[in-house]
Symmetry: C2
Subunit: 238 residues, 2 copies
Protein backbone atom coordinates (compact mmCIF):
# COMPACT_ATOMS: atom_id res chain seq x y z
CA UNK A 1 0.00 0.00 0.00
CA UNK A 2 1.20 3.48 -0.81
CA UNK A 3 2.05 5.43 2.30
CA UNK A 4 -0.30 8.32 2.97
CA UNK A 5 0.39 11.81 4.29
CA UNK A 6 -2.01 14.53 5.39
CA UNK A 7 -0.53 17.89 4.37
CA UNK A 8 -1.88 21.01 6.08
CA UNK A 9 -2.51 23.34 3.18
CA UNK A 10 -3.16 27.05 3.47
CA UNK A 11 -2.92 27.75 -0.25
CA UNK A 12 0.30 29.69 0.32
CA UNK A 13 3.71 29.18 -1.23
CA UNK A 14 5.12 27.10 1.60
CA UNK A 15 2.39 24.51 2.00
CA UNK A 16 1.88 24.27 -1.76
CA UNK A 17 5.56 23.45 -2.08
CA UNK A 18 5.17 20.91 0.71
CA UNK A 19 2.49 19.07 -1.28
CA UNK A 20 4.90 18.66 -4.19
CA UNK A 21 7.68 17.71 -1.77
CA UNK A 22 5.53 14.97 -0.20
CA UNK A 23 4.55 13.66 -3.64
CA UNK A 24 8.20 13.46 -4.58
CA UNK A 25 8.85 11.55 -1.35
CA UNK A 26 6.40 8.94 -2.58
CA UNK A 27 3.39 9.81 -0.41
CA UNK A 28 -0.21 9.63 -1.49
CA UNK A 29 -1.12 13.16 -0.41
CA UNK A 30 -4.32 14.21 1.36
CA UNK A 31 -4.23 18.00 1.48
CA UNK A 32 -6.34 19.60 4.22
CA UNK A 33 -7.36 23.24 4.59
CA UNK A 34 -9.01 24.59 7.70
CA UNK A 35 -11.24 27.65 7.61
CA UNK A 36 -10.94 29.07 11.12
CA UNK A 37 -12.42 32.46 10.36
CA UNK A 38 -9.36 33.97 8.68
CA UNK A 39 -10.15 37.20 6.83
CA UNK A 40 -7.99 36.10 3.92
CA UNK A 41 -10.52 33.47 2.95
CA UNK A 42 -9.28 33.98 -0.61
CA UNK A 43 -6.42 31.59 0.20
CA UNK A 44 -8.85 28.68 0.35
CA UNK A 45 -9.78 28.87 -3.31
CA UNK A 46 -6.08 29.05 -4.12
CA UNK A 47 -5.57 26.00 -1.93
CA UNK A 48 -8.17 24.12 -3.94
CA UNK A 49 -6.65 25.16 -7.26
CA UNK A 50 -3.18 24.06 -6.20
CA UNK A 51 -4.44 20.70 -4.93
CA UNK A 52 -6.36 20.15 -8.16
CA UNK A 53 -3.35 21.05 -10.28
CA UNK A 54 -1.16 18.72 -8.21
CA UNK A 55 -3.74 15.95 -8.57
CA UNK A 56 -3.93 15.17 -4.84
CA UNK A 57 -6.88 14.46 -2.56
CA UNK A 58 -8.21 17.63 -1.01
CA UNK A 59 -10.63 18.53 1.76
CA UNK A 60 -11.62 21.78 3.43
CA UNK A 61 -13.03 21.77 6.92
CA UNK A 62 -15.14 24.65 8.17
CA UNK A 63 -14.38 25.45 11.79
CA UNK A 64 -15.34 29.10 11.57
CA UNK A 65 -16.85 28.99 15.07
CA UNK A 66 -13.26 28.95 16.27
CA UNK A 67 -12.91 32.62 15.38
CA UNK A 68 -15.17 33.58 18.27
CA UNK A 69 -12.83 31.80 20.63
CA UNK A 70 -9.46 32.80 19.25
CA UNK A 71 -9.73 36.52 19.71
CA UNK A 72 -7.49 39.47 19.18
CA UNK A 73 -5.69 38.56 15.95
CA UNK A 74 -5.65 40.69 12.79
CA UNK A 75 -6.19 37.45 10.88
CA UNK A 76 -9.59 36.70 12.37
CA UNK A 77 -10.84 40.04 13.68
CA UNK A 78 -11.79 43.04 11.59
CA UNK A 79 -11.06 45.26 14.62
CA UNK A 80 -7.34 44.69 14.30
CA UNK A 81 -5.59 46.15 11.19
CA UNK A 82 -3.34 43.93 9.06
CA UNK A 83 0.21 45.28 9.41
CA UNK A 84 1.94 46.63 6.26
CA UNK A 85 5.54 46.77 5.02
CA UNK A 86 8.47 44.91 6.48
CA UNK A 87 7.47 42.58 9.26
CA UNK A 88 9.07 43.33 12.53
CA UNK A 89 8.30 41.40 15.68
CA UNK A 90 5.79 43.97 16.89
CA UNK A 91 3.72 44.07 13.71
CA UNK A 92 3.86 40.32 13.19
CA UNK A 93 2.47 39.81 16.68
CA UNK A 94 -0.85 41.24 15.50
CA UNK A 95 -1.12 38.19 13.26
CA UNK A 96 -0.75 35.57 16.00
CA UNK A 97 -3.84 33.35 16.25
CA UNK A 98 -3.72 31.80 19.74
CA UNK A 99 -2.52 28.21 19.58
CA UNK A 100 -3.40 27.90 15.90
CA UNK A 101 -0.83 25.33 14.92
CA UNK A 102 -1.56 22.96 17.79
CA UNK A 103 -5.22 23.07 16.76
CA UNK A 104 -4.35 22.42 13.10
CA UNK A 105 -1.92 19.60 13.91
CA UNK A 106 -4.36 17.89 16.26
CA UNK A 107 -7.15 17.94 13.66
CA UNK A 108 -4.78 16.74 10.95
CA UNK A 109 -3.64 14.00 13.33
CA UNK A 110 -7.18 12.77 13.94
CA UNK A 111 -7.93 12.88 10.22
CA UNK A 112 -4.72 10.99 9.43
CA UNK A 113 -5.55 8.28 11.93
CA UNK A 114 -9.03 7.95 10.37
CA UNK A 115 -7.66 7.32 6.88
CA UNK A 116 -4.62 5.26 7.92
CA UNK A 117 -2.17 7.97 6.97
CA UNK A 118 1.12 7.56 8.82
CA UNK A 119 2.33 11.14 8.55
CA UNK A 120 1.04 14.67 8.90
CA UNK A 121 3.07 17.52 7.49
CA UNK A 122 3.20 21.24 8.16
CA UNK A 123 5.18 23.85 6.23
CA UNK A 124 6.41 25.88 9.20
CA UNK A 125 9.80 27.45 8.50
CA UNK A 126 12.60 29.37 10.17
CA UNK A 127 11.31 32.80 9.10
CA UNK A 128 8.41 32.45 11.51
CA UNK A 129 10.37 31.39 14.57
CA UNK A 130 10.95 34.79 16.11
CA UNK A 131 7.29 35.72 16.48
CA UNK A 132 5.22 32.54 16.28
CA UNK A 133 6.17 30.18 19.11
CA UNK A 134 4.05 27.46 17.54
CA UNK A 135 6.30 27.39 14.48
CA UNK A 136 9.50 26.67 16.41
CA UNK A 137 11.32 23.36 16.32
CA UNK A 138 10.91 22.69 20.06
CA UNK A 139 7.14 23.07 19.74
CA UNK A 140 7.16 20.79 16.70
CA UNK A 141 9.08 18.09 18.55
CA UNK A 142 6.85 18.30 21.63
CA UNK A 143 3.72 18.11 19.49
CA UNK A 144 5.16 15.23 17.49
CA UNK A 145 5.69 13.36 20.75
CA UNK A 146 2.19 14.12 22.07
CA UNK A 147 0.61 13.03 18.78
CA UNK A 148 2.66 9.87 18.73
CA UNK A 149 1.39 9.00 22.24
CA UNK A 150 -2.22 9.86 21.37
CA UNK A 151 -2.13 7.59 18.33
CA UNK A 152 0.06 4.88 19.87
CA UNK A 153 2.78 5.57 17.34
CA UNK A 154 0.58 5.44 14.27
CA UNK A 155 0.88 9.09 13.22
CA UNK A 156 4.12 11.05 12.88
CA UNK A 157 4.31 14.84 12.62
CA UNK A 158 6.84 15.99 10.06
CA UNK A 159 7.88 19.57 9.37
CA UNK A 160 10.60 19.21 6.75
CA UNK A 161 11.03 22.97 6.23
CA UNK A 162 11.32 23.90 9.90
CA UNK A 163 15.00 24.83 9.58
CA UNK A 164 14.74 26.41 6.09
CA UNK A 165 14.26 30.09 5.35
CA UNK A 166 11.53 31.16 2.96
CA UNK A 167 13.85 31.82 0.02
CA UNK A 168 15.07 28.23 0.24
CA UNK A 169 11.45 27.08 0.04
CA UNK A 170 10.98 29.32 -3.01
CA UNK A 171 13.99 27.62 -4.58
CA UNK A 172 12.50 24.19 -3.87
CA UNK A 173 9.19 25.35 -5.34
CA UNK A 174 11.03 26.33 -8.50
CA UNK A 175 12.81 22.99 -8.82
CA UNK A 176 9.63 20.98 -8.14
CA UNK A 177 7.69 23.10 -10.65
CA UNK A 178 5.12 24.21 -8.08
CA UNK A 179 2.52 26.45 -9.78
CA UNK A 180 3.40 29.48 -7.66
CA UNK A 181 1.10 31.71 -9.72
CA UNK A 182 -1.84 29.78 -8.21
CA UNK A 183 -0.71 30.16 -4.61
CA UNK A 184 -1.90 32.90 -2.30
CA UNK A 185 0.05 34.68 0.43
CA UNK A 186 -1.62 38.07 0.93
CA UNK A 187 -3.34 38.63 4.29
CA UNK A 188 -5.52 41.38 2.82
CA UNK A 189 -7.67 39.02 0.79
CA UNK A 190 -8.28 41.16 -2.32
CA UNK A 191 -8.46 40.05 -5.97
CA UNK A 192 -4.71 40.21 -6.53
CA UNK A 193 -1.83 40.27 -4.04
CA UNK A 194 -1.70 43.73 -2.42
CA UNK A 195 2.11 43.77 -2.69
CA UNK A 196 2.41 45.77 0.51
CA UNK A 197 1.33 43.72 3.52
CA UNK A 198 3.81 41.78 5.61
CA UNK A 199 3.30 38.44 3.86
CA UNK A 200 3.41 39.98 0.38
CA UNK A 201 6.68 41.64 1.35
CA UNK A 202 8.07 38.32 2.56
CA UNK A 203 6.93 36.58 -0.62
CA UNK A 204 8.59 39.18 -2.84
CA UNK A 205 11.81 38.92 -0.82
CA UNK A 206 11.86 35.09 -0.88
CA UNK A 207 11.29 34.71 -4.61
CA UNK A 208 13.74 37.50 -5.43
CA UNK A 209 16.43 35.94 -3.28
CA UNK A 210 15.77 32.51 -4.81
CA UNK A 211 16.71 34.12 -8.10
CA UNK A 212 13.85 33.62 -10.51
CA UNK A 213 11.11 35.75 -12.00
CA UNK A 214 8.18 36.32 -9.62
CA UNK A 215 5.01 34.99 -11.32
CA UNK A 216 2.69 36.66 -8.79
CA UNK A 217 0.22 39.34 -9.84
CA UNK A 218 0.62 42.25 -7.43
CA UNK A 219 -1.35 45.50 -7.33
CA UNK A 220 0.16 47.82 -9.97
CA UNK A 221 3.26 49.69 -8.82
CA UNK A 222 3.62 47.85 -5.53
CA UNK A 223 6.20 45.26 -6.60
CA UNK A 224 8.89 47.80 -7.48
CA UNK A 225 8.14 49.88 -4.41
CA UNK A 226 8.38 46.91 -2.08
CA UNK A 227 11.61 45.72 -3.70
CA UNK A 228 13.05 49.19 -3.12
CA UNK A 229 12.01 49.04 0.52
CA UNK A 230 13.61 45.60 0.85
CA UNK A 231 16.82 46.78 -0.83
CA UNK A 232 17.09 49.76 1.50
CA UNK A 233 16.61 47.43 4.43
CA UNK A 234 19.47 45.25 3.18
CA UNK A 235 17.24 42.20 2.72
CA UNK A 236 18.04 41.44 -0.93
CA UNK A 237 20.89 39.08 -1.80
CA UNK A 238 21.34 40.19 -5.40
Amino acid sequence: MTKRAVVLHSGGMDSSTLIYWAMQEGFEVFALSVFYGQRHRRELSSACEVAYKAGVNYKQINLSSLSYFLAGSALTSTDVPVPEGLYDEESMKATVVPNRNMILFSIAGGYADSIDATTIMGAQHAGDHAVYPDCRPDFMYATRYALSLATEGRVFLDAPFVHFDKSRIAGIARSLEVPLELTWSCYKGGDVHCGRCGTCTERIEAIWNAGFRDPTEYEPGTYAATLKLLREAGKLRR
Copy 2:
Protein backbone atom coordinates in the same frame (compact mmCIF):
# COMPACT_ATOMS: atom_id res chain seq x y z
CA MET B 1 -7.10 39.62 39.43
CA THR B 2 -8.72 36.28 40.01
CA LYS B 3 -6.91 33.48 38.22
CA ARG B 4 -8.93 31.98 35.39
CA ALA B 5 -9.26 28.37 34.25
CA VAL B 6 -10.89 26.92 31.14
CA VAL B 7 -12.49 23.60 32.10
CA LEU B 8 -13.37 21.18 29.29
CA HIS B 9 -16.90 20.17 30.12
CA SER B 10 -18.76 17.25 28.57
CA GLY B 11 -21.71 17.41 30.95
CA GLY B 12 -20.63 14.13 32.52
CA MET B 13 -19.89 13.31 36.14
CA ASP B 14 -16.14 13.75 35.86
CA SER B 15 -15.95 17.15 34.19
CA SER B 16 -18.86 18.48 36.25
CA THR B 17 -16.93 17.51 39.37
CA LEU B 18 -13.86 19.21 37.91
CA ILE B 19 -15.77 22.50 37.62
CA TYR B 20 -16.54 22.40 41.33
CA TRP B 21 -12.98 21.33 42.09
CA ALA B 22 -11.58 24.30 40.13
CA MET B 23 -13.97 26.68 41.90
CA GLN B 24 -12.79 25.36 45.24
CA GLU B 25 -9.19 25.92 44.12
CA GLY B 26 -10.07 29.59 43.70
CA PHE B 27 -10.31 29.76 39.91
CA GLU B 28 -12.78 31.85 37.98
CA VAL B 29 -14.09 29.02 35.80
CA PHE B 30 -14.83 29.22 32.06
CA ALA B 31 -16.47 25.92 31.16
CA LEU B 32 -16.22 24.92 27.49
CA SER B 33 -18.15 22.21 25.65
CA VAL B 34 -17.29 21.12 22.14
CA PHE B 35 -19.88 19.57 19.84
CA TYR B 36 -17.81 17.39 17.51
CA GLY B 37 -20.71 15.41 16.11
CA GLN B 38 -21.17 13.05 19.07
CA ARG B 39 -24.42 11.09 18.92
CA HIS B 40 -25.00 11.68 22.61
CA ARG B 41 -25.69 15.37 21.98
CA ARG B 42 -27.97 15.19 25.01
CA GLU B 43 -24.86 15.67 27.16
CA LEU B 44 -24.57 19.26 25.94
CA SER B 45 -27.81 20.39 27.55
CA SER B 46 -26.68 18.69 30.75
CA ALA B 47 -23.39 20.54 30.45
CA CYS B 48 -25.25 23.84 30.24
CA GLU B 49 -27.47 23.03 33.22
CA VAL B 50 -24.49 22.08 35.38
CA ALA B 51 -22.57 25.23 34.43
CA TYR B 52 -25.63 27.37 35.19
CA LYS B 53 -26.15 25.68 38.54
CA ALA B 54 -22.47 26.14 39.40
CA GLY B 55 -22.68 29.81 38.36
CA VAL B 56 -19.66 29.67 36.05
CA ASN B 57 -19.07 31.13 32.59
CA TYR B 58 -20.07 28.70 29.89
CA LYS B 59 -19.61 28.42 26.13
CA GLN B 60 -20.37 25.73 23.58
CA ILE B 61 -18.49 25.59 20.32
CA ASN B 62 -19.95 23.83 17.31
CA LEU B 63 -17.29 21.95 15.39
CA SER B 64 -19.63 19.34 13.97
CA SER B 65 -17.73 19.34 10.66
CA LEU B 66 -15.08 17.40 12.57
CA SER B 67 -17.30 14.32 12.54
CA TYR B 68 -16.72 13.88 8.81
CA PHE B 69 -12.99 13.76 9.45
CA LEU B 70 -12.85 11.65 12.59
CA ALA B 71 -14.38 8.51 11.24
CA GLY B 72 -15.05 5.06 12.54
CA SER B 73 -16.13 5.73 16.12
CA ALA B 74 -19.44 4.64 17.65
CA LEU B 75 -19.60 8.10 19.23
CA THR B 76 -19.80 9.98 15.95
CA SER B 77 -21.01 7.41 13.41
CA THR B 78 -24.41 5.78 13.34
CA ASP B 79 -22.87 2.85 11.43
CA VAL B 80 -21.04 1.65 14.52
CA PRO B 81 -23.16 0.32 17.42
CA VAL B 82 -22.60 1.65 20.96
CA PRO B 83 -21.27 -1.25 23.05
CA GLU B 84 -23.39 -2.48 25.99
CA GLY B 85 -22.64 -4.02 29.37
CA LEU B 86 -19.28 -4.15 31.07
CA TYR B 87 -16.60 -2.35 29.14
CA ASP B 88 -13.77 -4.51 28.06
CA GLU B 89 -10.90 -3.22 25.94
CA GLU B 90 -12.41 -4.49 22.72
CA SER B 91 -15.82 -2.89 23.19
CA MET B 92 -14.38 0.37 24.52
CA LYS B 93 -12.24 0.66 21.41
CA ALA B 94 -15.40 1.27 19.36
CA THR B 95 -15.75 4.52 21.32
CA VAL B 96 -12.33 5.94 20.45
CA VAL B 97 -12.60 9.22 18.51
CA PRO B 98 -9.24 9.69 16.76
CA ASN B 99 -7.08 12.21 18.59
CA ARG B 100 -10.08 13.74 20.33
CA ASN B 101 -8.35 14.96 23.46
CA MET B 102 -5.49 16.65 21.65
CA ILE B 103 -8.07 18.52 19.57
CA LEU B 104 -10.04 19.50 22.68
CA PHE B 105 -6.94 20.58 24.62
CA SER B 106 -5.58 22.63 21.73
CA ILE B 107 -8.87 24.50 21.30
CA ALA B 108 -9.16 25.05 25.05
CA GLY B 109 -5.57 26.28 25.02
CA GLY B 110 -6.26 28.86 22.30
CA TYR B 111 -9.41 29.98 24.09
CA ALA B 112 -7.55 30.24 27.40
CA ASP B 113 -4.83 32.38 25.85
CA SER B 114 -7.51 34.66 24.34
CA ILE B 115 -9.15 35.37 27.70
CA ASP B 116 -5.94 35.45 29.78
CA ALA B 117 -6.72 32.19 31.56
CA THR B 118 -3.56 30.58 32.91
CA THR B 119 -4.87 27.02 33.14
CA ILE B 120 -6.90 24.55 31.14
CA MET B 121 -8.30 21.50 32.86
CA GLY B 122 -9.48 18.10 31.68
CA ALA B 123 -11.18 15.39 33.74
CA GLN B 124 -9.33 12.40 32.31
CA HIS B 125 -8.96 9.64 34.90
CA ALA B 126 -7.27 6.29 35.45
CA GLY B 127 -10.29 4.24 34.36
CA ASP B 128 -9.75 5.34 30.78
CA HIS B 129 -6.03 4.60 30.52
CA ALA B 130 -6.23 1.07 29.16
CA VAL B 131 -8.15 1.91 26.02
CA TYR B 132 -7.82 5.63 25.37
CA PRO B 133 -4.16 6.53 24.84
CA ASP B 134 -5.07 10.22 24.89
CA CYS B 135 -6.21 9.92 28.51
CA ARG B 136 -2.90 8.58 29.83
CA PRO B 137 -0.51 10.58 32.00
CA ASP B 138 2.35 10.47 29.48
CA PHE B 139 0.10 11.99 26.81
CA MET B 140 -1.06 14.63 29.29
CA TYR B 141 2.50 15.59 30.17
CA ALA B 142 3.59 15.75 26.52
CA THR B 143 0.59 17.89 25.60
CA ARG B 144 1.19 20.13 28.62
CA TYR B 145 4.73 20.71 27.38
CA ALA B 146 3.65 21.39 23.78
CA LEU B 147 0.97 23.84 24.95
CA SER B 148 3.42 25.57 27.22
CA LEU B 149 5.80 26.08 24.28
CA ALA B 150 2.99 27.25 21.96
CA THR B 151 1.85 29.86 24.48
CA GLU B 152 5.33 30.77 25.74
CA GLY B 153 4.46 29.49 29.19
CA ARG B 154 1.20 31.37 29.56
CA VAL B 155 -1.15 28.37 29.60
CA PHE B 156 -0.76 25.24 31.75
CA LEU B 157 -2.64 21.99 31.16
CA ASP B 158 -3.86 20.42 34.38
CA ALA B 159 -5.54 17.04 34.75
CA PRO B 160 -6.00 16.68 38.51
CA PHE B 161 -7.94 13.41 38.28
CA VAL B 162 -5.51 11.62 35.95
CA HIS B 163 -4.42 9.16 38.65
CA PHE B 164 -7.85 8.75 40.29
CA ASP B 165 -10.37 6.03 39.55
CA LYS B 166 -13.95 6.97 38.80
CA SER B 167 -15.32 6.02 42.21
CA ARG B 168 -12.88 8.44 43.81
CA ILE B 169 -14.24 11.16 41.52
CA ALA B 170 -17.77 10.20 42.59
CA GLY B 171 -16.68 10.59 46.21
CA ILE B 172 -15.24 14.04 45.46
CA ALA B 173 -18.48 14.96 43.67
CA ARG B 174 -20.39 14.01 46.80
CA SER B 175 -18.19 16.07 49.10
CA LEU B 176 -18.27 19.12 46.79
CA GLU B 177 -22.07 18.83 46.45
CA VAL B 178 -21.93 18.50 42.67
CA PRO B 179 -25.50 18.21 41.29
CA LEU B 180 -24.94 14.72 39.89
CA GLU B 181 -28.61 14.39 38.97
CA LEU B 182 -28.02 17.06 36.29
CA THR B 183 -24.99 15.34 34.76
CA TRP B 184 -25.15 13.02 31.77
CA SER B 185 -23.02 9.94 31.07
CA CYS B 186 -25.06 7.73 28.71
CA TYR B 187 -23.66 7.28 25.20
CA LYS B 188 -27.09 6.30 23.86
CA GLY B 189 -28.50 9.81 24.13
CA GLY B 190 -32.11 8.99 25.15
CA ASP B 191 -34.37 10.88 27.57
CA VAL B 192 -33.05 9.11 30.65
CA HIS B 193 -29.85 7.12 31.20
CA CYS B 194 -30.23 3.74 29.47
CA GLY B 195 -28.62 1.97 32.43
CA ARG B 196 -27.01 -0.61 30.15
CA CYS B 197 -24.36 0.94 27.93
CA GLY B 198 -20.71 0.94 28.90
CA THR B 199 -20.69 4.43 30.42
CA CYS B 200 -23.94 3.87 32.34
CA THR B 201 -22.41 0.69 33.77
CA GLU B 202 -19.28 2.59 34.80
CA ARG B 203 -21.37 5.34 36.37
CA ILE B 204 -23.43 2.88 38.39
CA GLU B 205 -20.27 1.12 39.57
CA ALA B 206 -18.48 4.36 40.52
CA ILE B 207 -21.34 5.83 42.55
CA TRP B 208 -22.07 2.50 44.24
CA ASN B 209 -18.44 2.06 45.23
CA ALA B 210 -18.28 5.64 46.51
CA GLY B 211 -21.02 4.61 48.91
CA PHE B 212 -23.94 6.94 48.44
CA ARG B 213 -27.37 6.78 46.86
CA ASP B 214 -27.29 7.11 43.07
CA PRO B 215 -29.45 10.13 42.09
CA THR B 216 -29.49 9.19 38.38
CA GLU B 217 -32.74 8.34 36.60
CA TYR B 218 -32.12 5.09 34.67
CA GLU B 219 -34.53 3.23 32.41
CA PRO B 220 -36.86 1.17 34.65
CA GLY B 221 -35.37 -2.13 35.76
CA THR B 222 -31.92 -1.53 34.39
CA TYR B 223 -30.24 -0.27 37.58
CA ALA B 224 -30.78 -3.48 39.53
CA ALA B 225 -29.86 -5.65 36.55
CA THR B 226 -26.62 -3.78 35.95
CA LEU B 227 -25.71 -3.88 39.65
CA LYS B 228 -26.22 -7.65 39.55
CA LEU B 229 -23.95 -7.89 36.51
CA LEU B 230 -21.32 -5.80 38.28
CA ARG B 231 -21.58 -7.90 41.46
CA GLU B 232 -21.13 -11.11 39.50
CA ALA B 233 -18.07 -9.59 37.80
CA GLY B 234 -16.60 -8.79 41.23
CA LYS B 235 -16.58 -5.05 40.57
CA LEU B 236 -18.53 -3.92 43.66
CA ARG B 237 -16.69 -3.05 46.86
CA ARG B 238 -19.66 -3.35 49.21
